[in-house]
């Protein structure tokens, strides 16, 4: 892909890949840059290899907006304290216990240092964004979003003398009984062997690798939309696992939310998400409902709908609502499909008109009167309907009628490499690698084996990135 008109690529192209570096960082997101900066600040020579072109640098960090760190008191941008214990409780709840308690508690304790540390690398914070008030106490938002954060980290790395090469994908590693020797890098037509004393693996998961996803999901994966860039292919993860690095996390699992079906195949990011499931009903291609749309409040509900839609025929569903709900949720990129009748809406969606009319009228007939309040678990529910809608059920009757088509949007995968508190890779037999470290999504499964809490990926990346860089630099000196 061509370099965009987005500034000059300082350094790249001039990087001398033949010299031996102290620390080789593979990846270009938050974890990679934190590792590179921390290693460089510890006195090491550092090379960062980013597989993506400069504009797309940073993997999923491009699309992030905040990080979740424990803190003992309110700050300029955080509305109150968020204790280690509360953070741990949240993590335990979202993972359902699929976490390494020792490592997770260690990370949470370390996270307290991260806000000032990240700020010291030039990243600016701001109060929570409009529409995200529920995160105002726990999460620190990046001024300008994830790409602004990346720009600040890259600028700091550049000033410190970290070398960065873009369009540089690591395709093979030389590893001898847990010891990293060299990396083979594909740069366009050429292949270069890069040598370094230590390796920090921070190249993310495999969510953009459709073929890999298909080994678990079959043809359904062809209908998945990938929320991040096409460069998150998991090549380094696979290579490490092939070389006997310990594995963590369920390889079949990925974080999937329901996003607008009209989104591009890759990199649609945040703006294709839809927050309106609660306001209507969700039907599949046969115009049938398939799950309780009012089961729980949004943060919990958000992440289940991707999986639910993935289980429907052709991995497509439609959120149907009426005029009374149109302005109750955050706007999204694509306008809803609109019709003056349910029949007309079914025609526009290519659904069986009679079936959708029946589904809507059955639903409307089952709605019991209540006091609608979308901010709490209200008493608007259906009776005698299967599946029920437990809250926020209001009849769909005020024209015009609207629908959003949705598909599974894959955010990240859970499969990763096992690490210890030094961010050092553990081999399959449990022995620590002599000179390999990992940070970020590639090892997130150690802490986050399931589920998700907003901003926790950035916490994992920053905490373990900083440690990995420091440890790798110390390792290189010995």
């Amino acid at each position: 892909m061509a370099e965009g008109g987005n500034g000059s690529a300082a350094g790249d192209g001039l990087v001398d890949l033949t010299r031996k570096f102290d620390v080789l960082v593979v990846g270009g997101g938050n974890a990679a840059l934190c590792a590179a900066i921390s290693a460089r600040r510890s006195g090491a020579s550092v090379l960062v290899l980013e597989a993506a072109p400069r504009f797309y640098r940073g993997g999923n960090t491009r699309h992030t907006r905040n990080m979740r760190c424990a803190h003992d008191s309110a700050t300029e941008t955080l509305t109150g304290p968020y204790t280690e214990e509360e953070f741990w409780d949240d993590l335990l709840r979202v993972t359902g216990g699929h976490t390494d308690e020792d490592l997770a508690r260690f990370m949470i304790r370390q996270s307290k240092e991260m806000l000032p540390w990240i700020a010291a690398q030039g990243v600016r914070f701001q109060p929570s964004l409009g529409g995200t008030l529920s995160l105002g106490r726990t999460n620190s938002f990046f001024l300008g979003g994830g790409r602004a954060m990346l720009n600040a980290l890259y600028l700091t790395a550049e000033r410190l003398g970290v070398e960065v090469a873009y369009d540089s994908e690591v395709v093979e590693l030389g590893i001898d009984t847990g010891m990293f020797l060299s990396a083979t890098v594909s740069r366009g037509e050429e292949r270069v062997v890069v040598r370094a004393a230590t390796l920090v693996a921070a190249a993310g998961g495999f969510e953009a690798n459709i073929e890999w996803l298909k080994t678990y999901w079959g043809a359904a994966a062809d209908n998945f939309l990938i929320r991040g860039t096409p460069y998150n292919r998991g090549g380094l993860l696979k290579t490490l696992l092939d070389h006997g690095v310990g594995q963590v996390g369920d390889p079949t699992q990925c974080h999937a939310v329901a996003i607008d079906a009209r989104a591009p195949r890759f990199d649609g990011g945040i703006i294709t998400r839809l927050d309106c499931v609660v306001f209507g009903i969700v039907v599949n291609k046969h115009a049938q409902r398939f799950y309780d749309e009012g089961e729980d409040v949004w943060p919990k509900r958000y992440a289940i709908w991707g999986r639910l839609v993935a289980a429907q025929p052709d991995q497509i569903a439609y959120i149907v609502f009426d005029a009374s709900s149109l302005e109750l949720f955050m706007p999204s990129l694509y306008p809803p499909i609109e019709a003056t009748s349910i029949r007309g809406l079914a025609q526009k969606l290519g659904l069986d008109t009679g079936a959708l009319e029946r589904t809507v009228s059955d639903f409307n007939a089952a709605v019991r009167p209540g006091a609608f309040d979308h901010t709490v678990l209200d008493d608007c529910r259906t009776e005698g309907l299967s599946p029920p809608k437990s809250h926020w059920a209001r009849p769909i009757q005020a024209a015009p009628f609207y629908a959003y088509p949705v598909r599974p949007g894959i955010t990240f995968t859970y499969l990763g490499t096992r690490v210890n508190k030094e961010a050092r890779l553990l081999m399959a037999d449990g022995k620590p690698s002599s000179n390999m470290f990992a940070a970020g999504e590639i090892m997130a499964g150690n802490v986050l084996g399931r589920g998700y809490a907003a901003g926790i990926g950035m916490t994992i990346g920053s905490v373990f990135g900083r440690i990995a860089g420091r440890e790798a630099a110390a390792n290189a000196r010995n």
């Binding site: 987005n6 001024l143 979003g145 990011g269 706007p331």
Partner: protein
């Protein structure tokens, strides 16, 4: 639905941005956008004039080109902004000056300079133009003070009327029906925001001009230019008072207030525009409305010329070149005044009105929230 393709594109972008909101901490544009779900032309013109072109949102955006969403807010709002000057120009018959504005300003400025030179030569003894004149009233031996005051007063009054009419059209197009820009605290807020260029700083990190590194110094140069301009304006005002109230005639000694103000202002008007021109030369073409480069450059060049000719006049006012320098300076300043309503000069006024609108909106929003809480 929209009057121009730039407005249609701005509408598309605001829809994208409103579903993202990552940039809401950068400036006033995004919070103002969040107060809306639909974007008619008047609102887009308001948002475009609220934008200070700091560039941060372009480099911070994960969807800027080459991404297929092609989000380029600074460039598109710059286009809409420039179109809005034309749309609200008064009288509408002169709106065309905003097309090929650089050429128009250059021609008008040249004609003004030529007019003063020829006027001095034709109306005076040819020896007077290149003579040495000193002491009180030296300038007025080339052009009587009354004529000078009448000519510039008329030009200034015309500019005032034309600009006021334009701003009225702009306000009506953006404000709610019946709403007036009269809220005192909103006005004071807008004065502070404009005076400090609060929104020309990328939300605190600094502006971006050449690339994503926030190393831009346009804010400093703009301050030098703007306050330099105000000092020069103050110098003229004080001199006018001296003349009519105290009967003291220019030129004044170097330590006298009009000269001190004018000298300081003139220095600002040289360094400021020179820095802005240099920054414009380095600006990333991606975020620029390249078609309007002429308008921007012409305006900055006029300010620079006013500064240089003013300082030159001060330096050589007691030599034979005083006459031609006076003609040059007056020509440039006169050209500046009569083109004011049809040059980039209006950017500051539209932006100021947009800031009043924004401060008013914020107050109404807070007021509404307080009522909802009660």
């Amino acid at each position: 639905m929209h009057a121009t393709s730039a407005l249609a594109e701005a509408d598309r972008l605001m829809t994208v941005c409103n579903s993202c909101r990552y940039c809401e901490g950068l400036c006033a544009v995004f919070p103002a956008m969040e107060m809306r779900r639909a974007f008619p032309d008047g609102d887009l013109n308001y948002l475009a004039n609220l934008c200070h072109g700091c560039g941060a949102c372009y480099y911070d955006c994960q969807f800027s080109p080459p991404h297929e969403f092609n989000v380029n807010v600074p460039r598109v709002l710059a286009q809409v902004r420039a179109d809005s000057y034309r749309a609200y120009a008064w009288p509408p018959a002169f709106a065309g000056v905003f097309e090929r504005n650089g050429l128009a300003i250059a021609v008008i400025a040249a004609l003004c300079v030529a007019g003063f030179l020829l006027g001095f030569a034709a109306l005076n003894d040819p020896a007077a133009l290149l003579g040495v004149h000193t002491g009180p009233g030296a300038f007025y031996r080339l052009m009587p003070h009354k004529a000078m005051a009448a000519l510039f007063g008329a030009a200034f009054l015309y500019a005032l009327v034309a600009v006021s009419m334009s701003l009225r059209l702009f306000w009506r197009d953006t404000a709610r029906p019946g709403e007036a820009p009269t809220d005192a605290s909103a006005l004071w807020q807008a004065i502070k925001d404009a005076g400090r260029l609060r929104y020309l700083d990328g939300g605190g990190i600094g502006c971006m001009n050449d690339d994503e590194r926030p190393a831009d110094r346009r804010k400093l140069y703009h301050h030098l230019t703007f306050y330099g301009f105000l000092l020069c304006f103050a110098a003229t005002a004080v001199a006018t008072l001296y003349h009519f109230l105290l009967g003291r005639e220019a030129p004044y000694p170097w330590y006298d207030l009009p000269v001190v103000l004018g000298t300081l202002g003139g220095i600002g008007l040289v360094i400021g525009p020179a820095g802005l021109l240099a920054a414009k030369g380095r600006r990333d073409p991606a975020v620029e409305d390249e078609a309007r480069r002429g308008m921007d450059v012409a305006f900055i060049a006029m300010l620079l010329m006013a500064g240089i000719t003013g300082l030159a006049l001060l330096a050589w006012r007691e030599t034979p070149v005083m006459g031609p320098l006076l003609a040059l300076h007056l020509g440039v300043v006169f050209g500046f005044f009569i083109t004011m309503p049809y040059s980039k000069f209006v950017h500051g006024l539209y932006r100021f009105v947009a800031l009043i609108r924004y401060a008013t909106e914020r107050r109404m929003l807070q007021h509404g929230e307080e009522q909802a809480d009660a």
